[in-house]
Amino acid sequence: MSFIAILKILRLFLKWVFEIMCLNCKIYGLNGRLLTSSKMKKANWKWKRLLLFVLGLILVIGFALFLFSGVFRMKREVRTTCEDKSLVLVEQFNVTKDHLHELASSFYESDQISTLKCTKKLVDGMSMQQEINCALKVPNHEHKLEIWGQCPILDDKAVPTTIPEKHAVEHSNSLLKLCMWALFVVTVCSPIPCLWKICNGRMKKKNLAQSYSSSGAGKLIMMRLLVVFVLFGISISICLFWYLNDGIQFRRKETLANMCDERARMLQDQFSVSMNHVHALAILVSTFYHGKQPSAINQTTFGEYTERTSFERPLTSGVAYALRVRHSEREKFEKEHGWTIKKMETEDQDQTLAQDCDPQNLDPSPMQDEYAPVILSQETVSHIVSIDMMSGKEDRENILRARASGKGVLTSPFKLLKSNHLGVVLTFAVYNVHLHQDATPEQRTNATVGYLGASYDVPSLVEKLLHQLASKQTIVVNVYDTTNVSAAINMYGPKEVDTGLLHISNLDFGDPARKHEMRCRFKQRPSAPWTAILASGGVLTITFLLGHIFYAAIKRIEAVERDFRKMMELKGRAVAADTAKSQFLATVSHEIRTPMNGVLGMLQMLMDTNLDAKQLDYAQTAHASGKDLIKLINEVLDQAKIESGRLELEAVPFELRTILDNVVSLFLTKSREKGIELAVYVSEQLPEVVVGDPGRFRQIITNLVANSLKFTQDRGHIFVSVHLADEATRESEMKDDVLRKILTSVHQSKSNTVCNSNTLSGLPVVTRKKSWENFEKLSGNDLERETAKIKILITVEDTGVGIPVEAQSRIFMPFMQADSSTSRTYGGTGIGLSISKRLVGLMNGEIGFVSEPGIGSTFSFTAVLMKKETNSTDTVLQQYHPSTSEFRGLKALVIDCKSIRAEVTRYHLQRMGISVEITSNFDSAHDYRSASDSADFSMILVDQEVWDKESAFAFLSGIKSSTKLFLLANVVSPTIHDEVKLANLVATIVTKPLRLSVLISSFQETFNVENKKVVARRKPSTLGSLLRDKRILVVDDNVVNRRVAEGALKKYGAIVTCVDSGKAALERLKPPHSFHTCFMDLQMPEMDGFEATRQIRKVESEFNEQIKSGEVSTDLFGNMGQWHTPILAMTADVIQATDEECIKCGMDGYVSKPFEEEQLYSAAARFFESG
């Protein structure tokens, strides 16, 4: 029954699971398009929770099953254990103690071990079949008897119950069931209103917030599941209790039935044994009293015999023999025995067998057909001799039945006089002839000669029997005579007290006319079924605990989910705000830029007009301010771009050293104005060409240098040096002289500053090593495996005012100046360093600094760049500086008192392939001249600082005329210039900072005079001069734009041709053609600007191949070695990083669409200046 219930609940649960599945499927099906990874996660989480639930349920079910099985086993054990086997054995075989003794002694005497095996099949009236196999073992070495018994009992049928008993049990069971059901219904019903409330609440919530419907539904399902689970647990515990209680009841009943049946059987057996003996006695009487003439038995013999064999009939209080005397023979009989037949007294009592009154006092029996006077009797009942048994009503009836049936017949119980116990009289008829089994009652009556009676003392009989059995204390036994069903007579046992269970066993004492039964009860009422209560209580507790845990978990999950949603919302809002901010910044800067361009353009135009000095000054100031503003806006735009993550670094090959030269030339004027020495140095370890983002790289360095320049006043230097990160960290790899010098000088001074002359300008600087001390991974160890990558360390060292210690922590924060006064003194927004830091971060590097107020600062940063194949290095260098090769192999002598500065000079010279010797002054230079042939030196470079008129002249007078003299100077001091001129020396003055291009041009000027033109070209030119008479192709699909661009370019004197599509442009630009440059719109239908450019480049490269292979003569086209038409993109969109994209597809630059003069100039100047 309970299993069916479990199955049902399981089915219900499965249904739930499927429903949930369907529901979830539906939800996800609906939101299929919106299904994101986060939702997937959520779904996963849900399924996990479900799984947890299922596991919990399985656990509980498993636990319950375990309990059940345990109970089963217990029951079996109880069923099979047999406490009093030996006793049962003894009783069942009717083996009296004496018999056993006898048996045992006989075995003992024969000195052997014997096992007695016997099988008895007993079929009782209640259709209970029991098969008993018994093994009896009697050990010989012990005097005391021991018996082991084995009783495998086979129960074909459950223990039988009589109908009224069944009714009673059913009644009590149904009451229990009713209670249980009531409890169950109450427990089931109690959560329903609660559930209903929850459902309602959910529904309302659902209606209110549809957006959370899925999770709400999930929670609802969870709650429902929880309720189902708890109900399930409760029902399980109830079932368990029910089941266990049932088991206990059943066992109790069974025990009672077993004990009762056992007692009844034993009683019956003993009684039948006794009866047999009485029967035997009857036969004895018939044989020896009637069979012999004269009779062999008289009263004395009979008394003695019966007395001695009374042990055979332990239950009889006495036996007596009454002779059948017919009325005709009465007188003869009375004479023979010498006494009259007496009548049994019936005044005060019905029947008495053993009367203590004297038989002499009794009246003679009245006249009757026949009499049954007692002639022989046991000693115990000798007083009944001569009493007519026929005169007692009960006895008469008994005698008549006995002689008619030929079997032992019992009377109904009556009180025995002497013992005052209830007793029965067993009567056997004695026949004079041997009768057949199927003789008729008449025959039997006629053949009757006497009657043998034995009185049984039932209480003592039962008492004796029960004494032999164990656990007699637990049950109460009553024996009833139920011949008259309505008035059963209690033959034995106390007055019945109802203690619940009752078992009735029928007794058969061999008289079919009489019915006896045994009623057994437990002495105590059953105690409360503690096992069941504890087990089910345990299950209930576990269920509630689990339920509580799950409930708490659900609540917690709900709370967490709510928090999560809240957080997501907040996060979304924060992200939106951040995006909005960046968008705002970008838009605003873009929007500001547009009018600012107008302002600047107008100002530029204004300056071109005739203005007087004052007006020009105002206009210039306004223009400069505007430019600053634009710069600031660009910076803000950069910041916004970086913050919004829209800034992506490109990876193009570029020349590190050229970039640095560019940076230096950018700050050339400023540094000269301030009188600050500016120098760059790149370690030899670095490859010529690296792959990275040159624009951003330059931006960082420019920022740092600009910063240094801003804070360095009128003296000192700014020194940019680039090394491999490994060089700086590993002493062994420190191959570079400059680095070694810089770093070793620290060891000498030990202080925080380096104050010897081992700096560029001789001024003390801070220890640069400290600036990268905090870098997490300075060494490129992790990059070593990726051989394609290198990590470089760039330091920018200055001798400026330094950063106050308290401001050092917030130096990289945007819009943070060292202090508010700084911006007043030096201007600037303080956004540059922040951008630099972010850019460095984008390059997988770190940035750090060390600063000492009053001495200076050093900024260091690392950047991870990619190597380019080395074989292409030469070609790249050639491409940029076609003339470096012409100085290869020359020798130069550098005279400089400051070793680092000399190294810088050497670095630049070595780039051109010139081998360099360094000496610190003219005196030591003499050694070089004398030691080796000074003719080897093609050039001598002298720093302005070491210039000393006398020694210089002394040294220089001896050198050959082929050796050129170069004077390196920051600002050309007129005195030295004069001195040199006066000395009639041919000396070229090279203004610092040194750059490759400057050196090359100076050398070219000196060595080849005809190349002077190149230098002359460097005069400033205006846009008008740049574009004049240049043939320009404008490509734009928009006729208005085309017209505007045409107009704008024509204004600068260009000859403009317009085409309206990329294809037409491709047609026009097929080499050979006469266009100097091309302005290309990017957004065009069919073929956009990028695609057109790519195709043009393809065509050009094909053509170049042809030139190389000589298919096409180069002479025809103005000796152009390479066809490369500059293509400038025209775009209205500046914010998207189209710049990088332009360069990627082969464009040379871009101009924003409403033309801006400056930008147009700077873009155009790149080609036309050199071209």
Binding site: T594, G598, N1038, V1040, R1043, V1044, G1047, A1048, A1132, P1154
Partner: protein, 171 residues
């Protein structure tokens, strides 16, 4: 002056209204700037006009109007075509219109174009229709105002031409 007026010859032909015409033009321009219809790009366009190309601005504007009419027609056609929602084409046309508008400095038209493009990107048809209506309205407004401006300009030029000899003499 009154005599001249009575002759029936337009006043500007006589070169009298030159100053007033210039004031009118400036007022109109400043109004347009104030309303945000035009931006400084228009001024730059005017800068490009010089002796070598005396009608540069009006030429450009005429081309602009010519092109824009076409674009607007196309846009309307594309939008009204219920079956096909060719937003690529829409985008192309819008881009063109936007580019040319920004070239001549028609700021408001340009901004509406941008909004329009946004609507197209969002696939919002009703917003597109609204944007188109606003665009057409704005376009008409621009066209009227510019026509007005050119009329004044023309008058001024004519007036200048009439007046020049005299003026030169006076100087």
């Amino acid at each position: 002056m009154l005599k001249g007026a009575k002759t029936g010859v337009p006043l500007w032909l006589l070169g009298f209204g030159a100053v007033r015409l210039r004031t009118d033009m400036n007022r109109l321009l400043s109004l347009l700037f104030h309303q945000g219809v035009l931006d400084e790009q228009f001024l730059q366009l005017q800068q490009l006009q010089d002796q070598s190309s005396p009608n540069f601005v009006s030429e450009v504007i005429t081309i602009y109007f010519h092109e824009s009419e076409k674009q607007l027609r196309n846009l309307r056609h594309l939008l009204l075509d219920r079956e096909m929602w060719d937003y690529v084409k829409l985008g192309i046309h819008l881009n063109q219109l936007m580019g040319s508008s920004s070239s001549i400095g028609a700021k408001r038209v340009r901004n509406i174009c941008a909004a329009f493009r946004g609507a197209v990107e969002q696939n919002n048809r009703s917003a597109c229709m609204r944007a188109l209506e606003v665009l057409e309205h704005e376009y008409c407004y621009l066209k009227n105002k510019l026509h007005e401006l050119f009329q004044i300009e023309q008058q001024r030029v004519l007036g200048d031409a009439v007046r020049y000899p005299g003026v030169v003499h006076q100087q």
